[in-house]
């Protein structure tokens, strides 16, 4: 489904990714772990085409397409979703308008007519229930005045609405207490099927107690230095990252 080959990327002229190779198959859950500054967030931003990140070398193939040639909105249309580490507030734009625009642009890309208002609202209600967001959400502005936990739940809600093929969860656990973490993780698990894949980017093991990875990678200094099964996460929890830095 996703194949990354020899990926190099820079931010403000500094090379952060120094040759990443990674393959994610259909239905798989991959965890990418690593210390601060290892390039985890850069990798997720490059995948979704954030213009602040420049790819200098390498190739990304997503479902047979050259991902790097697509603008960010088309990567979204193709089914890539990023749950932001820091979701952005958009004052004045209600969640309902925001999601309706997003859903309808996705539909237009697939050649489908826009959803009728009542169908759309029904869809909102269904998906909201999944992450336990209340009904007032629809009228609130995007992320404005949301608590940290609400913002993360709102990300998973949007993921549910857009039904991505590949979801990237960038430090979704940061800033969440244990209850919020459980709700968010349960939402992700409900959405995960044998047809879609998830990349979980995290510092800590604790999120992986709820979202079980098939494969764990350790990213260090812009490269993947170790790949193993879920037991690797536990080992990292115990030993830290230092033993991998040689």
């Amino acid at each position: 489904m996703l194949k990354i080959e020899n990926l190099h990327a820079t931010v403000a002229g500094n090379e952060i990714l120094k040759g990443i190779d990674l393959e994610v198959g259909k239905g798989e859950v991959h965890a990418i772990m690593g210390p601060n500054g290892s390039g985890k967030s850069t990798l997720s931003n490059v995948l979704v085409g954030n213009p602040n990140y420049t790819v200098t070398e390498g190739k990304i193939t997503f479902q047979g397409k050259d991902l790097l040639s697509l603008p960010p909105e088309d990567r979204s249309h193709e089914g890539i979703f990023l749950s932001f580490q820091y979701p952005v507030e958009i004052p004045g734009v209600s969640m309902v308008n925001f999601m309706r625009t997003a859903v309808n642009e996705h539909r237009a890309y697939k050649g489908l007519a826009p959803l009728a208002a009542n169908e759309f609202l029904k869809l909102m209600r269904e998906k909201r229930a999944l992450v336990g967001l209340d009904g007032k959400l629809a009228n609130r502005s995007v992320n404005e005045g949301f608590s940290g936990g609400e913002k993360k739940r709102n990300e998973i809600f949007q993921m549910a609405m857009l039904e991505p093929v590949l979801s990237i969860l960038d430090e979704t656990d940061s800033g969440l207490d244990i209850d919020a973490l459980r709700v968010v993780a349960e939402g992700v698990n409900k959405l995960h099927t044998s047809d879609n894949s998830v990349i979980v980017i995290t510092h800590y093991q604790r999120l992986l107690d709820y979202i079980k990875p098939d494969v764990v990678h350790v990213l260090y200094n812009g490269r993947i230095v170790k790949t193993a099964g879920p037991e690797l996460a536990l080992e990292l929890e115990e030993k830290g990252y230092d033993w991998l830095k040689e």
Binding site: P71, V88, I90, T101, A102, H106
Partner: protein, 481 residues
């Protein structure tokens, strides 16, 4: 700054920029007493009106263009402009449909303003269509007349209802009010006249559509609305002009008189040609709009969406003389490329328990400059006056400017005056967040701008609101740099 969003500044899509080839009677360029007499005689005006014009002209000669606005106004050569252009075949004002030049009819069709009543917008809007200096057609006149409502061009009102025009013309905006008001009073051509009799609620929206067509001319329309006791009317105004390299002058006056417990809602979508992306051409829009709440509990509500014009100088105001009268001002002003706007309002509280609300939303993009200027004045006798003002500025890019100039002049200690102001910017993070959800940058800007302006857009009548929303997005196309 990243270069990811840097886009070539696209040519703004101004879809009203066409010209109409129509036989137009244009009087010679220049301004002098003789020209004013010519205008007056073409319109077969009574002496008192010619006298009014000449006094205004004499006053104008003693005045100079005001310099206090946050605008860079180039020298205007008033002798190089023609002050009267008539695209109708006969010089005697509106005609039957059959008599109107088909090209003129086509123009209004193209603008989405059909002049045949059966094709009317929503079936519930009457239109006075003005091209250059002349009213071409006013629809639904007869149906409105059944209720005693007068809706016609001001030239026709001068002929058929001279007592009303004479009583109210210049009673809200004196020709001595300012430089451009004096100019308009001297040379004004067509505009609309509305009279709503006592106790009548106007059953349809009334509207005037202004179109500048002829080159080298100015448009000087004059609108007068009188709402008698316990009446109500909602009035809409729209404006467009062709794309021309030279600037065109538009100096209008709108006067509104509201009597006891009557209400006038005045909405404008101003989309004069704004000039090209380099700042070449565009309309200079110098407008004096003022309403006078003369009675107990009178109400005036101004709503404006200003997207056009190279220069906008405009302060729709309310004089609240009547006790318990209410003034409202809701504004969205967009400037892009090299447009300049200095717009706002004056709320003059004179009566007791008068209330006013000001909501101003400025949006600046490109190299433009956008200023809000507002005065809240509370007179000595205005016990219990209240004002709430909110002035927000939204910036796109880092080469534009937004300014707020609020003035307060309070002479009664019971007054409660509140002012809030914010400045925000559409950030790249917001746009990218939208992109990641599958929303294109242009659509994301539209979404954010419309969200920002919705408090004002919600005040517009339905069909207008939809148009205005589209207009906001189009005006800002190619503005992310």
């Amino acid at each position: 700054m990243s270069n990811g969003f840097v886009k070539q500044i696209a040519e703004e899509k101004y879809k009203y920029g066409f010209t109409t080839d129509v036989d137009t009677d244009i009087i010679q360029h220049g301004l002098n007493e003789d020209v004013i007499r010519q205008i007056s005689s073409r319109k077969a005006e009574p002496d008192w009106l010619l006298d009014f014009r000449l006094k205004a002209y004499a006053y104008w000669l003693t005045q100079t263009c005001p310099k206090w606005a946050h605008l860079d106004i180039p020298e205007i050569d008033y002798q190089s402009i023609s002050y009267y252009a008539d695209p109708t075949r006969r010089a005697k004002g509106p005609q039957t449909l059959e008599e109107i030049d088909p090209e003129v009819m086509k123009t209004f069709d193209k603008l989405g303003i059909p002049l045949e009543e059966r094709l009317a917008l929503s079936g519930n809007t009457a239109v006075d269509a003005v091209m250059d200096s002349v009213s071409v057609k006013t629809t639904f006149k007869e149906r409105l007349a059944e209720k005693g409502i007068i809706f016609c061009s001001i030239s026709e009102a001068v002929r058929n209802h001279p007592e009303l025009v004479r009583k109210y013309l210049g009673s809200v905006v004196s020709y001595r009010d300012n430089f451009f008001a004096a100019l308009n009073s001297a040379v004004f051509s067509d505009g609309s006249f509305v009279y709503i009799p006592k106790g009548v609620r106007c059953p349809m929206e009334l509207s005037t559509y202004f179109r500048i067509n002829a080159a080298g001319t100015g448009q000087f329309e004059r609108t007068l609305i009188v709402a008698d006791d316990d009446s109500y009317v909602s009035y809409l105004e729209g404006c467009t002009a062709p794309m021309r390299d030279e600037n065109q002058l538009h100096a209008a006056i709108v006067e509104i008189v509201v009597l006891d417990r009557a209400e006038v809602k005045y909405s404008t979508v101003q989309n004069w040609y704004p000039g090209d992306e380099k700042g070449q051409g565009g309309v200079f829009n110098f407008v004096t709009k003022r309403g006078h709440c003369r009675g107990e509990g009178s109400k005036i509500s101004w709503t404006q969406v200003e997207t056009g014009s190279a220069i906008t100088w405009k302060y729709p105001s309310c004089v609240l003389s009547g006790d318990n009268s209410v003034g409202e001002f809701y504004s969205v002003a967009v400037t892009n490329n090299y447009q300049q706007a200095d717009t706002g309002t004056k709320m003059i509280h004179l009566g007791r328990n008068t209330r006013s609300t000001i909501i101003s939303k400025g949006i600046s993009a490109g190299h433009s400059s956008n200023a809000y200027r507002g005065l809240v004045k509370v007179g000595e006798k205005a016990e219990g006056a209240r004002n709430y003002s909110q002035c927000d500025s939204l910036l796109l890019g880092d080469k534009c400017g937004a300014h707020t100039f609020p003035y307060m002049d309070i002479h009664n200690e019971t007054a409660v005056v509140e002012h809030e102001a914010t400045t925000s910017k559409i950030s790249e993070e917001q746009l990218f967040y939208c992109n990641q959800r599958g929303i294109k940058t242009e659509d994301a800007i539209g979404l954010i701008v419309n969200g920002y302006a919705k408090e004002v857009l919600n005040k517009l009548p339905m069909e207008f609101a939809v148009e205005a929303q589209k207009l906001l997005s189009v005006s800002l196309e190619g503005s992310v740099g």
